[in-house]
């Protein structure tokens, strides 16, 4: 029976099909039911489509002003929620004048009751104009639909089209109101399509090379991009456009000029790679840079594509040499520790093998907020027999997973972190990381270190007050060695 109905789900038996225990003997090759609506009344970890587009796809663009067409709440929530740092560097060698522009500001139309009654178009128009005036440096303005504007039916596309002309800069509307689609994944989709449709192909890069790539689905979380970029540079490959980490608006406009697209986050951004391939004939390759093994494999594949095999090998060797001692150290420490990976989507199939093969850990549970079938297939392929795979777990299920599968650590988000801690389960943030970046060779060591620090946090041995302790003997075993004394750990 690959599907399991949890104790806590007795009254919502429809959850059974979302929970799958990997079973190699399973004749139907099932996967968990996914990408469907959450059962009302649950404490789901999922977000909304607006979060999907602004919080994941577009928020990383460093020179666009973001105007949320909403009552104040969605605007407020769109602020400061994600870690995608930027440099001020622009492709033409100039500097963008506003530091941390994408992290520092968010704008909104501040809709009120009367707007709900009479429509918010006027305010949208006015707000975009004011935004352009407040930040003339911004090279584009991105406007976002929300539940309210979706429900009152504002025609944002009309407004932004007019304003693009009026302002002489791109104004783009993203029509992903919060209620659309079952998860934030809908927002990724809308974001991809909107950017492709309105921007890709509208500008030309300052120069091109035969080694130009688009790095798609790389949002520079906690500096991930800044780990990967040197690999490419050392290989002689030029990242023409990043979609969208530390990127500028124009980079998106000239994505059609790359020779190859590399798709890093395949859940949130395969769409645009696909669209670019179809329209402009730029082929794409799905890549995986988590963990040294995948990272090496994929650099090799890219090297092969461009005939740069030797350079790829050089990068790989250099980095492997660098991380080897740490990798060994952490593997020794983490051997056999049980891990539960709960990410948005792809990290659930990126991480299990690296954790198991490179760190000796055992993946006992994986769960996702918004993965689709293709992702679950990959997950299933990459986890071991008896691993539980849960689609959109809710709070109660999470507790049951902890009880049943006794993980030593969970990799997940902020909301889950403190719940895990209350269950004495260490937790490392895997969406925006703790002491990241986590990608690439060096990043994997950061991840290992954070996992190690969390599992070996001394507090876990001190959780309960002890009425009695064995008296520590005052005498300590010492091994003299020159000036220093080595103490034997008890």
């Amino acid at each position: 029976m690959p599907h399991d109905l949890f104790e806590v789900d007795k009254s919502i038996p429809e959850r059974k099909k979302h929970i799958y225990i990997k079973d190699n003997a399973d004749p139907d090759q099932e996967i968990p039911s996914c990408n469907t609506k959450t059962i009302p009344g649950c404490m789901t970890e999922r977000g909304c489509a607006f979060a999907g587009v602004k919080g994941v796809i577009t928020g990383a663009v460093k020179d666009a002003a973001h105007v949320v067409h909403s009552p104040v709440g969605c605007t407020a929530y769109g602020y400061g929620t994600k870690r995608y740092p930027t440099t001020p560097d622009m492709p033409d060698g100039g500097k963008f004048p506003l530091e941390n522009f994408n992290l520092k500001y968010i704008m909104g139309t501040d809709l009120k009751e009367s707007d709900v009654v009479f429509g918010g178009m006027k305010k949208l128009r006015q707000s975009i104009l004011e935004a352009a005036k407040e930040f003339p440096e911004a090279n584009a303005i991105y406007a976002y639909a929300t539940c309210t504007t979706g429900l009152i039916g504002d025609d944002m596309d009309g407004v932004v089209k007019e304003l693009s002309e009026e302002l002489g800069k791109d104004v783009v509307a993203f029509n992903a109101p919060g209620f659309s689609g079952p998860t934030q994944s809908k927002g990724h989709h809308v974001g991809n399509h909107t950017l492709f449709q309105h921007l890709v192909g509208t500008k030309e890069p300052p120069e091109t090379t035969p080694y130009d790539v688009n790095l798609i689905g790389e949002y520079n979380i906690d500096g991930d991009l800044w780990i990967l970029k040197p690999y490419f540079e050392e290989m002689g490959i030029n990242i023409l456009s990043t979609f969208t980490g530390d990127c500028c608006h124009d980079e998106i406009c000239w994505m059609h000029r790359a020779k190859l697209s590399l798709v890093r986050c395949q859940r949130s951004a395969t769409y645009i790679a696909d669209l670019i391939e179809k329209k402009y004939g730029v082929p794409y390759m799905k890549v995986d840079f988590f963990g040294p093994t995948y990272c090496a494999e994929n650099l090799r594949a890219i090297g092969k594509h461009f005939g740069l095999e030797d350079k790829a090998e050089a990068v790989i060797k250099d980095r492997m040499d660098k991380i080897k001692p740490d990798l060994e150290l952490y593997k020794e420490k983490l051997q056999g520790k049980k891990v539960w990976v709960f990410s948005g989507g792809p990290k659930n199939w990126h991480l299990p093998r690296p954790l198991e093969e490179c760190l000796g850990m055992e993946v006992v549970a994986v769960s996702t907020m918004f993965e689709h079938e293709d992702g679950y297939e990959k997950i299933k392929e990459r986890v071991k027999e008896d691993t539980v795979i849960v689609d959109d777990p809710n709070s109660l299920e999470m507790e049951e997973i902890v009880e049943k599968y006794q993980p030593d650590i969970m990799l997940s988000g902020v909301k889950e972190k403190y719940l895990a801690h209350k269950l004495q389960l260490p937790c490392v943030l895997i969406h925006s990381y703790e002491n990241g970046p986590y990608i690439g060779f060096e990043g994997f060591i950061n991840l290992a270190k954070d996992i190690y620090a969390s599992i070996y946090n001394p507090v876990w041995d001190l959780v309960e007050f002890k009425e009695e302790v064995e008296k520590t003997p005052k005498l300590i075993e010492e091994v003299e060695s020159g000036d220093n004394i080595k103490l034997k750990a008890k």
């Binding site: 959450t38 059962i39 709440g73 602020y79 500001y105 968010i106």
Partner: protein, 462 residues
Amino acid sequence: MSEVKVTKRERNVIINPLVTCQPLGAMFAVAGISRGLPLVHGSQGCSTFVRYGFSRHFREPSEIAVTSLHEDAAVFGGRRNLISGLGNLASRFTPDLIGVVTTCSSEIIGDDVDGFIKTARQEIKESLGENAAEKIKIVAINTPSFVEHHYRGYDNAIKAMVDQVALEPANGNDKLNIIPGIVNPGDIREIKHILNMMGQESIMLTDTSDPFDSPLRPGSTQFKPYYPKGGTPVQELEDCSNSSGTISLCNYGAQAAGVLERKYKVPSTIGPFPIGLQNTDQFLRNVKKFSDAEITDELLDERGLLVDSMADITSRYLFGKTAAIYGDPDMVTGIAGFVCELGMTPQLVCTGVENQEFVDDMKEVSKKADGKVEIMYGQDLRSMEVRLEEEPTDIIIGHSDGRLIARDLDIPLVRVGFPVYDRVGYHRVPIVGYRGGINLLDRITNTVLEEYYDPVHWKLQQ
């Protein structure tokens, strides 16, 4: 003579808002009920963003359910979502209270929330049995996101809970109702500490202190992350109509106090938010007004410690220093008043709430100030930033959302309020009451010492 300038936001576009929408306030209020669960009737983002916000500030789990409205609900209404959501929540969690928190979506769709709740109650009764079902209060809280802000949402929620749960008064209970406002666990605990020292029992409407700052003690078996220790028991909510008075520390929203006064003749008083000497003094006098509570010697000693600190520190290190203060309006007027007591000037005060009473109160506070005061209301953080670029202050006092502004302007930020996610422990340290005053004074002074005295280090020799 002091001079004040009053400004409202001049543009429509809001840039780095100082407020969020109503539902957050309501979720906060419901989180203060023992075994209380908020059920957000809206999209998943409406609950998830708030859970995320609470978690990163309090570093605690924040368990909030949602009806997960989607396209079909937009077309056909959220009836089924709400009714089944309530049913699922009731059967899986058996809470003591569910607060149904509406959102922009459910308000625009025009869902008959009261009607749906009635149906849901019936269904719950059928599935769980009458006894179990009766133990679950379901409160409808209307918090349309496009009306006002989180501060009003809190107010609406407390009002709804009192209105729908409090029983007809029977015997006086000699307790005081306290509406603490959207404050930190440390602040609520300090209020309880003061009342405790006065020998005055109270009913907190509501008490988020323990739920948002709960011990990690797996050995205490009853514990569940979604039902942390503490919170106001529903029985106390029922009993609040028997109290001898209501004090709302929430200066610009006390509808619940109004309900209790009109419906059940419980007298009430509003404000001030008890930061600093005079406001805390007034809080004590307010408590005495409704009871024969005593202002004990121990309490006056705590006061004396604040007085002593002020005498020893303020004229030497803080005199004439200017502050920009932003955040929720009651916190802003409270801190502005305290800052004046310290001999500083609240040169710029800024709240996102558009409320004339706030302006009037700030004018009153400004009379104590020795310099120009600019009152920004219905404003946002960007407006404040622009003004500070033109006329900087010595320090900024506010929450973490201003941190990049403070960083870019190179003005030190004294963190207070909600949210503070870039430092630790701030939710636990009170700023209200005499002891909170000492904390805030220390924080301000040490910030000034670090920024303005460390560079001329010898001035710190003694």
